[in-house]
Amino acid sequence: MIRRKLVLAAALLTAGGAIAHEAKSQHGGRVMDAGKYHVELVAKGESVDVFVSDGDQKPIPAAGFKGTAILLVDGKPARIPLQAADGNRLSGKAAVALGDSPKGAVQLTTPDGATASAKFN
């Protein structure tokens, strides 16, 4: 009885650590924090996709979200407006081809007008 309780307590304590998620990429991009959201940036060719999820990696519907990505291509900043697409995806198109994992930052405007941004290095 007592031992079981102790074991349960220990399990809960370790569970506290286990909840601590690691920002894992689900779409092959890089995941960063943006305020209370997690943002995954996938840049391929000229298209930029941004996936929004909450702190527990649960996808958040992108409807109502707006965004801007500023990515550095050959030392020049490229400003890419992002529009909500299907699911938790926002997408945009750059004027020039983006290299592999370009540096930059993504700013999200939530439906209630608040902003959150994530920096990608």
Binding site: M1, I2, K5, L6, L8, A9, A10, L12, L13, A15, G16, G17, I19, A20, H21, E22, D33, A34, G35, K36, G55, T68, I70, L71, L72, G75, K76, P77, R79, K103, G104, A105, V106, Q107, T109, G113, A114, T115, A116, S117, A118, K119
Partner: protein, 583 residues
């Protein structure tokens, strides 16, 4: 009994586990509210750093002021293009005269967290920075501004604790109602027990019950003579922060924070010209200090002396070269006309007369010989001899004239600038006296006196009294003693403007002894109140932390930090003294 104790322990552990879980939910990063401002008197602000830049954003009165500095040196960046993503699209901030970037931003007044996306283009450097500014709600009172995480740990907790607190307060205040209720409940309980158990011990139980009820009852009403109408005196003294009304804009003041760090807002940093440098571990040579003075390069300087004593007269241009006049090698600077003494004059007249007389005789002889030589009475050789004799006499006569009239020209021996001039028209110059000194200002040497025989000093520098330093090249050292010291000569490399011959300098000559550590400018190390050497580390954009260090002498401008700070830290190198004055 032990099982109960263990159960209680288990319950406690359970509760601890439950409470700990939300706090540890995120590893390495948290999604909670940003850290509260360092002090209530400081306006909300946000900062961001990258490898090249440090950006501080301060919203105030409908405008967003951005301070852009170099990350390593804390030097303001001028002429950069700063673009900010706003709800109205991308806006470019305008640069002001004091190197800040200002943007009208009425949307920043809204309370809450504003995440800004700032694109910085400075020269060929481009960076995208994210700045988070948390604008507090001016209506919310500062006391309720507690971290929300603890309160949301359990929704039941506040109610339970509220009830407990209420109960405790009442108990402390000896609330008559509470006491009366307790006494009544006790009496009721006792009576019920008696009724259940039987009637054998009724009198004793009744006696005890009445006694206890009476005690509690008197306790309920016999409260002390404490305050009845006075308000509770439990208010803490009013702090400075509380005096500022939340509506008026708070003034940003440099201040020492409770944790010992120094908060210096960016405008004050600009005012104090705070500069930092990144510490790097390297090997250094110990340096010795020698007294020295500036001398002209012996191969690029010269003096103009008169070989004969005589009267000075200006060159053909009509003016003596002044101090600072640039002269070329071979330029005539002055003429010296040797004076002719009275005895010399008579001597010369005598010689002149003699020569004139001889010339007259020889001329006549030449004429006679010329006539006779045609007849053959005189040999041609005799005529030739007479002719050459005449020519010789005429040359001597001419030289005598020239000697009396021709002054000596004084010419510049080297290219350079007139460093010393003592020529006045008509002045009599003594033979061997220096009339001009010519120095090439681009070629100067330094002669230092060393008490030890210096080995070839590789990296020598000279420090001027105004703090400027010159880099030197070792030229050589003498062996002959001069005032128990050896003269060592160095050539000044690089810019020599502002130097004068004879100026005293301090020469710092590197020795072979090597030291490994972090070199910092002498001005970076300040003495704290207790006499310890400290340096200030630039930890965040507007915070500086004092670090105690142990320093060793390195050379005139730098010291070696042996312990206290590691490599890769931003240490204040300029303005540390001023930073230390912040209270």
């Amino acid at each position: 009994m032990s099982s109960r104790f263990a159960a209680a322990l288990g319950a406690m552990l359970l509760a601890a586990g439950l409470l700990a879980a939300p706090a540890r939910a995120h590893e390495g990063h948290d999604h909670g509210a940003p850290p509260p401002p360092v002090s209530n008197t400081i306006t909300p602000r946000g900062e961001a750093v990258s490898e090249a830049f440090e950006l501080t954003a301060i919203p105030r009165e409908g405008r967003l002021t951005l301070y852009l500095d170099r990350f390593r040196t804390n030097e303001p960046v001028r002429g950069a293009v700063v673009e900010v993503e706003t709800p109205e699209g991308q806006k470019t901030a305008t640069e002001t005269a004091d190197a800040t970037y200002v943007l009208p931003a009425a949307w920043m007044a809204k309370p809450g967290t504003h995440d800004l996306l700032v694109t910085v283009t400075a020269g060929d450097m481009v960076d995208v920075l994210t700045v988070s500014v948390n604008v507090p709600d001016p209506k919310a009172s500062p006391s309720t501004d507690q971290p929300a995480a603890a309160a949301t740990a359990s929704s039941v907790m506040p109610t339970v604790s509220a009830v407990l607190t209420e109960l405790r307060n009442r108990f402390i205040a000896k609330d008559p109602i509470l006491m009366a209720t307790a006494a009544g409940a006790f009496l009721l309980g006792m009576l019920v027990t008696v009724a259940v158990r039987g009637r054998r011990s009724v009198p004793a139980v009744a006696l005890i019950a009445i006694a206890i009820t009476l005690t509690l009852g008197t306790a309920a009403f016999a409260h002390g003579d404490e305050d009845h109408g006075k308000p509770a005196p439990a208010q803490p003294p009013v702090q400075g922060a509380a005096l500022t009304a939340p509506s008026e804009p708070a003034a940003d003041l440099a201040q020492r924070l409770p944790d010992g760090s120094v908060f210096v807002p960016k405008p004050t940093q600009r005012l104090l010209v705070l500069r930092t440098s990144m510490t790097e571990t390297a090997t250094f040579h110990r340096a010795v200090e020698l007294p020295g003075r500036v001398i002209p390069d012996p191969n690029a300087s010269g003096v103009v002396q008169s070989s004969v004593g005589g009267r000075l007269s200006p060159p053909p241009a009509g003016l003596f070269p002044r101090l600072g006049t640039v002269v070329k090698r071979g330029d005539v600077l002055a003429y010296v006309t040797p004076p002719v003494q009275a005895i010399d004059v008579s001597d010369m007249r005598q010689r002149q007369g003699e020569l004139d007389q001889q010339i007259d005789i020889v001329e006549r002889r030449v004429e006679r010989f010329r006539k006779l030589s045609t007849t053959g009475a005189v040999a041609q050789t005799q005529l030739d001899d007479a002719l050459s004799e005449l020519k010789g006499l005429q040359d001597r006569r001419k030289a005598l004239d020239a000697n009396r009239q021709q002054p000596e020209a004084l010419t510049a021996p080297v290219d350079g600038v007139i460093a010393q001039a003592s020529a006045v028209a008509g002045q009599m110059a003594a033979s061997g006296a220096m009339i001009f000194q010519i120095v090439d200002p681009a070629c100067l040497w330094i002669e230092a006196l060393s008490f030890d025989a210096l080995t070839t000093a590789e990296n020598a520098t000279a420090r001027l009294s105004d703090g400027r330093t010159l880099s030197l090249t070792y030229q050589g050292a003498g062996l002959a003693d001069r005032n128990q010291a050896i003269p060592v000569q160095f050539a000044v490399t690089g810019d020599t403007s502002g130097l004068r011959v004879g100026q005293f300098v301090t020469v710092l000559a590197g020795t072979d002894a090597e030291q490994i550590g972090l070199a910092l400018p002498r001005s970076a190390v300040v003495r704290s109140g207790n006499g310890q050497a400290i340096v200030y580390e630039h930890v965040t954009a507007e915070r500086f932390v004092a670090r105690q260090v142990r320093v060793e002498p390195l050379d005139g401008t730098r010291v070696l930090v042996a312990e206290g700070v590691g490599a890769g830290k931003r240490i204040v190198t300029e303005g540390a003294e001023l930073l230390d004055q912040v209270r």
